[in-house]
């Protein structure tokens, strides 16, 4: 888990550099470099899932949404239809917004997309919790150090996808209080995992 933060602010120069690097990667992927294609998908997958998590609740629906988006991204890369490689992030966001609007229609195309591009998602398997048993164990250890109430809030917020308002109603507390618990729990888990993974070989 990459939890060590970079320097606080990226300079404009760094930003331009990262866009130039991104454009290189997109061109390489478009010209058939499958490892660059997988790396690009893996780089954007957390943002795609975060976008989905805002709109969907179940883990299965979020994962399916991410797969749908990434299959379309792979299709676009392979067919050379990414117009501006340096703005690839904006392209992926556009795909996310289209998929969010047209999920029902996309469902009909899903089988064909899977048939053609599923192998482009093989990297997802390596990122699954079952393949990261040590990290899961460390997270469980960190969760155990939260209060019981904070653990409940983490579950309802990030696993069940409930809003602070819904969690507040469930726990009979003020919504603002839930927000405080959520943020403090995140910071504690972030510190705890940074320490553990920093110490890990």
């Amino acid at each position: 888990m990459q939890v060590v933060p970079p320097s606080p602010q990226q300079t404009e120069q760094q930003q331009a550099q990262s866009w130039a690097q991104l454009a290189e990667k997109v061109r390489a992927a478009a010209s058939g470099d499958r490892s660059e294609e997988a790396a690009l998908c893996a780089q954007f997958a957390p943002a795609v899932r975060t976008f989905a998590r805002r709109r969907l609740r179940s883990a299965e629906a979020i994962e399916e949404f991410a797969q749908d988006v990434l299959l379309l991204v792979i299709q676009a890369l392979r067919s050379g239809t990414v117009a501006d490689p340096a703005r690839f992030g904006g392209f992926v966001l556009g795909v996310c917004r289209n998929v969010a609007r047209e999920r029902a229609r996309l469902r009909d195309r899903r089988d064909a997309l899977w048939e053609a591009y599923a192998s482009g998602l093989d990297w997802m398997e390596a990122d699954a919790p079952a393949r990261n048993a040590d990290e899961v164990a460390l997270l469980e250890d960190c969760l155990g150090q939260l209060s019981a109430r904070a653990r409940v809030v983490v579950r309802h917020a990030y696993v069940e996808g409930e809003s602070s308002q819904q969690i507040a109603a469930r726990l009979a507390v003020q919504e603002g209080h839930v927000r405080v618990i959520r943020h403090r729990a995140l910071w504690t888990l972030r510190d705890c995992l940074s320490t553990k993974l920093g110490a890990a070989p």
Partner: protein, 189 residues
Amino acid sequence: MTDRYPELSLIDDYLSGRMSEPERDAFEERLFDLEAALQVEVAFLDRLARFTHHIVALGTLHPGLTRAEVDHLRAAGRCVELRELGTPGTITAQPLAPGTEVVVQRADLRLFDVDSVDLEIVLPELGHVKTLRELKVDPSDGAVYACCDATLFQMALEQSPQTTFRVVAVRDGRRETVAQYELLAPLPA
């Protein structure tokens, strides 16, 4: 409240529905931009959500269960190894059976006056290293069923040849050690 991780808090405000529509749209533009500080936190929270889902499914979100919850996990097909710790004192851990997913260690402490206990973990070379908080006490038998996934149990045994577990109850506002176990790692075969 000082915001130690402002990007993390921002992502959480996005996920929890606190942002207005224009704020949400603007945030989504940033989400797909390659802003390093934000990307790190997005990746962190994404893994946190997915891995916590896995932990919830395994049944080990809380470090303490009741007997009924242990039975429920077994009925749901989880491979649970239930171990009796016996009288507080020194115990040599036995290796886990192959295929074990969840380890539950039952401490029969007959605690009928508290709802939960803390478990303080002490290593001889490091001293107090952490406290697992608010493990339920089963009201039906007064026992503590401390649970964790098998990987974590194995990691703990490999970390140190000896681990001290102090069971701490809060009574009348005071923390009180009610039992102490010395867990020794199994001897190499």
